[in-house]
């Protein structure tokens, strides 16, 4: 659970990364300040291309920052990369296990590269294979694994050396719902062992279901940070969407003038109203429309989701940008 009084295991200040390409310099990470409390599952949510992976690669010592600092487990990622590397695990989107190697071989060599003896690494591999329910597949080459098994193994490789902090880049992208739910369980188990998990995702459900705390990133900047509940509460109240057949602007002007409407806007041709109490607002909205000679074609009331948070902070829906 989020505990802000403990020393953060990860802290960044003004982190920037610029890539120079043919079209000029692109600022992939444009001043990111993050704090991750030890023991949390921290979610880094944003659409593709928002700067999630770039930030993660900086934190995992793979990429030097152009400006700013990042301290992970008490060490500076740029100047003390080696110290950081012994304390973190990193599971890239591309995986990490080689298809011609067996699961056991990958776990053993990873342990040995972290300085374990052959016997210790062997014992640790058995432990991990059992914990991830991969014992029967341990001596098969990775190419024979299902997508979900391969992801589990990759996470296992990342935790061979019992890192204090495990980075997972889009851990469930491309998995079917069962395999995803399965992986979520494994990630939750990590929290019980005291491991801090820092994961990137563009799935709202994932951030909502897994994370104690999350930061929303868009165009290289953090646009919101907090626990999923805090963020949703920030939206304040409920969201009513109304279809009004082309009268959008008129309705927005009308609604914005009402005291029970906190904010009104148009999204996807639908009028979007942020209200304090949805069940009281709906009849009032209907009456108002009726008195102006309009009838809604559709009407929807829902509790704020992380997508509403994202929409409110960026003006776009994450579902569209992620698609």
């Amino acid at each position: 659970m989020t505990t802000h009084n403990v020393e953060p295991i990860l802290e960044t200040a003004g982190l920037r990364r610029t890539f120079s390409g043919r079209g000029g310099a692109v600022e992939a990470v444009a001043g990111v300040d993050l704090r991750v409390a030890a023991g949390d599952i921290f979610g880094f949510l944003g659409p593709n291309g928002a700067g999630k992976t770039t930030t993660l690669r900086i934190l995992a010592t793979l990429l030097p920052p152009t400006a700013g600092t990042a301290r992970v487990a008490g060490f500076d990622v740029a100047r003390q990369a080696r110290e950081v590397r012994t304390r973190i695990g990193y599971v890239a989107q591309s995986g990490g296990s080689y298809r011609e190697s067996t699961g056991r071989e990958e776990l053993v060599i990873q342990g040995r590269l972290f300085g374990m003896s052959k016997a210790d690494a062997g014992r640790r591999a058995v432990e991990i294979l059992e914990a991830l329910d991969l014992s029967d597949a341990g001596d098969r080459t990775c190419k024979t694994y299902s997508g979900g098994m391969r992801r589990r193994l990759n996470i296992g490789i990342g935790m061979v050396h019992r890192p204090a902090l495990l980075f997972l880049d889009e851990p469930t992208t491309g998995l079917d719902p069962q395999a995803r739910a399965r992986l979520w369980e494994e990630i939750k188990k990590l929290r019980e062992t005291g491991t801090t998990v820092f994961l990137t995702t563009h799935y709202l459900e994932e951030a909502d279901a897994l994370c104690d705390c999350l930061a929303i990133i868009d165009h290289g900047r953090i646009v919101a940070e907090g626990s999923p509940d805090e963020l949703k509460r920030e939206i304040a109240g409920d969201v009513v969407t109304v279809g009004v057949n082309g009268h959008g602007d008129r309705v927005v002007a009308l609604m914005a003038a009402q005291t029970f409407v906190r904010e009104a806007g148009i999204e996807d041709g639908l009028v979007r109203l942020y209200v304090d109490k949805g069940e009281e607002a709906v009849p009032q909205i209907l009456r108002l429309l009726d008195s102006h000679g309009m009838a809604p074609s559709t009407m929807n009331l829902h509790r704020p989701s992380l997508d509403d948070v994202f929409l409110k902070k960026t003006g776009r829906s994450l579902r569209e940008t992620a698609a």
Partner: protein, 253 residues
């Protein structure tokens, strides 16, 4: 020392993976055999031409074949690395405290072991065709072949780390290895070449390696090409290993 331990770990992993994929091992052995069977006999007649270097046809041909095997056995190793990069293996290992030099040298040593193995098969098979061998000379010749592998494979790995895909790597590797091969006198001795071509060839370290290995097979140990060839390969290997290790330590960037 961490670097030796890590080098051994990477070497061990790489060689196991190479032997698990026997297609490449078989191809690597079959190719030089085809050269011996289908190209070697042509040389028996050419060897009578004026300008052909001393020694029997196979004593001129086999050293060239060995250098070609060493060149191809190391110039194309970057393809395997592209494959590992795509699966995230290189990135995963970069985020461990392991030695960056070991990432390179462990793989290069695997390449050397495989090409020395191929070379031994060629030499043994060439004896019935008329290759004359003297053990001391052949031992030094194999040391030079190993050095060619140590020199070339870091170049291939560096290119792979920079270009990141087989499609981009193939033309570059071909563009480097083909002129190196043609200007080395591997197929036909450069003594048959016009002066300008011989002058250009002298800038090719493999030209000196081929000349040195021919002398070693003929027991002409006084040939200055031997010292020159070994010295060139050692110096260039040091440079390419440093370059390659640097590329691995920047693999993430």
């Amino acid at each position: 020392m961490r670097v030796f331990r890590d080098t051994w770990l990477i070497f061990e992993r790489s060689i196991v993976l190479s032997l698990r994929n026997p297609v490449w091992v078989i191809m690597g052995i079959l190719q030089p055999i085809l050269y011996l069977l289908l190209f070697g006999p042509l040389l028996t007649n050419i060897a009578k031409m004026p300008g052909f270097p001393p020694g029997g046809a196979f004593n001129v041909f086999v050293p060239g074949l060995l250098v070609m095997t060493a060149l191809f056995g190391s110039a194309f190793v970057g393809f395997g690395l592209c494959d590992e990069m795509r699966e995230g293996v290189v990135e995963r290992m970069t985020v461990t405290p392991m030695s960056r030099v070991a990432m390179l040298v462990g793989r290069s040593l695997r390449d050397v072991v495989l090409l020395v193995g191929q070379g031994l098969i060629i030499v043994i098979l060439a004896v019935p065709f008329g290759l004359e061998i003297n053990l001391g000379g052949v031992a030094v010749a194999f040391l030079m072949l190993a050095l060619i592998g140590i020199m070339m494979s870091p170049i291939s790995y560096t290119l792979a780390l920079v270009l990141k895909s087989e499609d981009a790597l193939a033309p570059v590797v071909n563009g480097i290895s083909l002129p190196l091969l043609l200007l080395s006198g591997v197929m036909l001795p450069m003594s048959l070449a016009p002066d300008w071509l011989q002058t250009v060839a002298k800038f090719n370290p493999l030209y000196h390696a081929v000349a040195a290995i021919r002398s070693l097979f003929n027991a002409s140990y006084g040939d200055s090409e031997i010292v020159l060839g070994v010295a060139l390969l050692v110096v260039l290997s040091v440079i390419t290993i440093r370059l390659g290790a640097r590329s691995f330590s920047r693999a993430g960037a």
